[in-house]
């Protein structure tokens, strides 16, 4: 359980460049949740998630993760950081080791595990992101962009975090690499039912496909917090702050506006396929 209460954060307090980035943020994310944080560029998403594993300390407010207050001075930060894995934007730029294996092993090694345990975790993490074993001996700099990103994500997964946070995990990937990463994340969440996943995204389609729960940020404030259906039902408010609903939802709204009798809560293409087929073909939908 992650519980954030009245969090405020100010950059460079007391300096000419002083700027408050987060205002009175409060939310809760239960164990095993799949939450999405969405917001405009500069809305404070990245700053907020860096608070969740104590990389950034709030100016005021509290953050409690599984019963531990991580803002407190004597909090065990190494433990917090191994429990809350954070995958940064473009994580492939942090790869540095000679081989993929050693790079993935960096986290577990810092945790002081035995070689046998490290090996087990590296193989497990590599498997989770779909890296074949023959890649483990290669230099990370020889891999393709999508592969590099998966190595970087494996480098965080190898610490076996209870909470996995991903900052725009699909940014800059081609559609194929994007589907692969999203598929793996979603499979991971299904297989490890107790792992909480939080991801930051600009793509409403990805959010609709994966998330159970959405937190909407605007100018450093939480403006909406709720179930996916609840949030996407407020399309007008979303577009006012520069966000949007998934394209398929927009299409559905257009149809409703033109008098088609159809349910409005359609957020994913897969679901739309079924509903539209029923509506227009008058029968149970089938793949075409």
């Amino acid at each position: 359980m992650i519980s954030v209460k009245n969090l405020n954060y100010t950059y460079q307090p007391g300096m000419p460049f002083e700027r408050q980035a987060l205002f009175d943020i409060s939310f809760e994310i239960p164990d095993g949740d799949f939450a999405a944080i969405i917001g405009h560029t500069g809305s404070g998403k990245s700053t907020l998630i860096q608070h969740l594993n104590a990389l950034v300390k709030p100016t005021s407010g509290s953050i409690v993760i599984n019963g531990t207050d991580i803002v407190e001075k004597d909090a065990d930060l190494k433990k917090v950081r191994s429990e809350v894995g954070l995958v940064f934007q473009y994580p492939e730029y942090q790869l540095f080791e000679e081989t993929v294996y050693r790079d993935i092993a960096f986290g577990p090694r810092n945790m002081g595990l035995s070689e046998a345990e490290i090996k087990e975790r590296v193989l497990e993490a590599a498997g989770l992101v779909g890296l074949s074993e023959d890649l483990l001996g290669k230099s990370p700099f020889e891999l393709s962009g999508g592969q590099k990103r998966r190595v970087a994500i494996a480098g965080v997964l190898s610490m076996r975090p209870k909470v996995l946070i991903l900052d725009e995990p699909t940014a800059g990937l081609d559609p194929h690499g994007r589907d692969e990463i999203l598929g793996q994340i979603s499979r991971m969440h299904k297989e490890h039912g107790d792992m909480t996943i939080i991801f930051v995204s600009h793509s409403m389609e990805d959010v609709a496909k994966l998330a159970q729960h959405i937190i909407v940020l605007d100018h450093g404030r939480v403006v909406m917090d709720g179930e996916v259906a609840e949030i996407f039902a407020r399309g007008d408010e979303l577009s006012k702050i520069g966000l949007d609903v998934p394209e398929i939802t927009r299409l559905t709204y257009e149809l409703i506006a033109r008098g088609v009798d159809i349910r409005p809560d359609i957020y994913t293409v897969d679901f739309a396929k079924r509903i539209y087929a029923e509506l227009f073909l008058g029968r149970e939908g089938t793949e075409c």
Binding site: Q12, G14, R81, Y93, Q94, F96, F106, N110, M111
Partner: protein
């Protein structure tokens, strides 16, 4: 730590110091540094202190900001003062015997220490005012113009200025990047802050390798971007903003020459 780097930081403003010509500012900053190393005695230091205070006040740069630029210098400052206080011979004020040698604090040492401290602090403040009130672009343009005459002896003034522009331009970018990679590695359990010197040096590898890789990538991208916009060096390039001397440069010249005149006059009068 990285936030303390004030080099390349520019605070936009509209003060008389901001409005001065970059060339003039650079020349006067150099002159100021020379003065700092010539002056001696309380009276002359007082004149320079007043002058510097006037410049800082006019520039409108918050004092806090200037003080912050001194923070990274703290070690050097303390070291300089200690060396001067302990190593100057003269009238002993206080001494302690440490077996093999005796530590002596002398009157001359203390005076020397204070003067050296002021000298270094003023040096940093003076040059900070220059960089804080002059945009990096103006600064390098100024340097390019000042180096122009040396082209006769084959000094590539434009290339030097361009290299400096790029270097200064990338300080904040690389500082940001360093911060990001540090955070990413910290999130994977890296520890940059504790342990012996050797451990800490080793801990830098996960930071430096990605930093080098991305610096080369950026350099490559920048080269392509410049090439695609037909960059071909300084020959026959014109500027959007031509540098012109204004009344502010005249005022500044008057003030600084007045300061020099006072210093010279006081020396003639007293010796």
């Amino acid at each position: 730590m990285l936030k303390d780097i004030t080099i390349g930081q520019y605070i936009a403003g509209n003060s008389p110091i901001h409005k001065m010509d970059a060339r003039v500012k650079i020349l006067f900053a150099l002159l100021f540094i020379v003065l700092l190393f010539i002056i001696k005695g309380v009276a002359e230091y007082a004149v320079i202190t007043l002058f510097l205070a006037l410049v800082v006040k006019l520039s409108g740069v918050p004092l806090k900001f200037i003080v912050r630029g001194l923070k990274p210098m703290l070690f050097i400052l303390i070291f300089t003062v200690l060396i001067n206080v302990l190593m100057t011979t003269g009238e002993v004020l206080w001494s302690v015997n440490l077996g093999i040698f005796t530590l002596r604090v002398t009157r001359e040492g203390v005076t020397m220490g204070i003067y050296m401290l002021l000298r270094l602090v003023y040096l940093v403040i003076g040059t900070s005012v220059l960089t804080l009130t002059t945009s990096p672009l103006m600064l390098t343009d100024g340097i390019e113009k000042l180096l122009k005459p040396f082209e006769i002896i084959k000094v590539p003034s434009h290339e030097i200025a361009m290299m400096m522009t790029i270097a200064i331009r990338f300080i904040p970018t690389i500082a940001d990047e360093t911060d990001k990679i540090m955070k990413a590695q910290t999130a994977r359990g890296a520890d940059f802050e504790s342990g012996s010197i050797i451990r800490r040096a080793k801990a830098m590898i996960p930071l430096l390798v990605p930093l080098f890789v991305s610096s080369f990538r950026r350099a490559d991208e920048l080269a392509v971007a410049m090439d695609s916009r037909c960059y071909r060096g300084g020959a026959s390039r014109t500027r959007m903003k031509e540098m012109r001397l204004t009344k502010y440069d005249a005022y500044a010249g008057a003030v600084i020459f007045a300061v020099i005149a006072i210093l010279i006059a006081s020396r003639i009068a007293f010796f």
